[in-house]
């Protein structure tokens, strides 16, 4: 079964992260790289992607003629996706265990961020099966 693990934060949270020391940022990336390698080794890794900062986010709707209408104004409280992992695991407990590893990633001074990670089961067939 495949699960999507979502890391989210507000614009204020992202600004806070940008103030981390270079050493702390490096340690955080190293932790995530090690986890990615472990998941690849166990055959559980499917996909991951970091996103550009929320300041670059837009919402799009279709106008009457179908042309895109874009909007870049969001409430301050809006939670933006910062990055995600898709994992292929044997049981929901394993997905939660991986989410806990992400949550325990080191923040400033090496203290775990304790970031909440949203865990969602993926529903559809793989992209390849749809096409």
């Amino acid at each position: 079964m495949r699960y999507m693990l979502l890391m989210t934060g507000t614009c204020a949270g992202v600004d806070h992260y940008r103030a981390w020391s270079e050493k702390d940022i490096q340690a955080h990336f190293a932790y995530l790289q090690k986890l990615n390698r472990e998941l690849t080794g166990s055959g559980e890794f499917v996909a991951t992607a970091p996103l550009a900062p929320p300041q670059q986010a837009l919402t799009v709707r279709a106008g009457k003629d179908g042309a895109p209408v874009t909007d870049g104004v969001f409430p301050e409280s809006k939670e933006f996706l910062l990055g995600y992992w898709i994992v292929d695991v044997d049981c929901p407990e394993r997905a939660c265990a991986i989410a806990a590893r992400l949550s325990a990633g080191p923040g400033p001074g090496g203290v775990p961020t304790n970031m909440p990670i949203e865990v969602r089961q993926v529903m559809t067939a793989r992209t390849a099966d749809l096409t």
Partner: protein, 154 residues
Amino acid sequence: MSATRATMEGTMKYLLMMNTMRAGQGVPQWPIHDLHAHIAFMRALAQDLHHAGELVLAEGLTFPDQARLVRAASDGTPITDGVFPESKEFLAGFWIVDVAAPERAYAIAARISAAPGPGGAPLDMPIEVRPVAGAPPPEMLRDVENQPTATTKR
């Protein structure tokens, strides 16, 4: 080996997100005909994007009534929580597309926004469009192989 890392030269990757679900929501109670029309629309879209060479990844998620929030306890074990604020937006599905220009990503998002709902009327969903970041800059990854990666240093 992430499919999401492979980018054609001169193109940009965008994540298109359908954040249309609310806490506790399950399968929508639409007439079965409308549900089938919606799924057919999404399949046709995936096929078109695939044939244009623009589709990197597309997924639909199960409904928010199954969502969990996970944190690590002090010993690293997961603490799960299934209670969310009513205002929270839940991701229902997403597409990663690899396109020549941002305008093309917006055009695809507009098409998704107009997906048919009950009675075939366009849903007019807001679709969040986000550029996918490249790899972190090299200076950020310097010496990472030699860095301690445990959760604590002090």
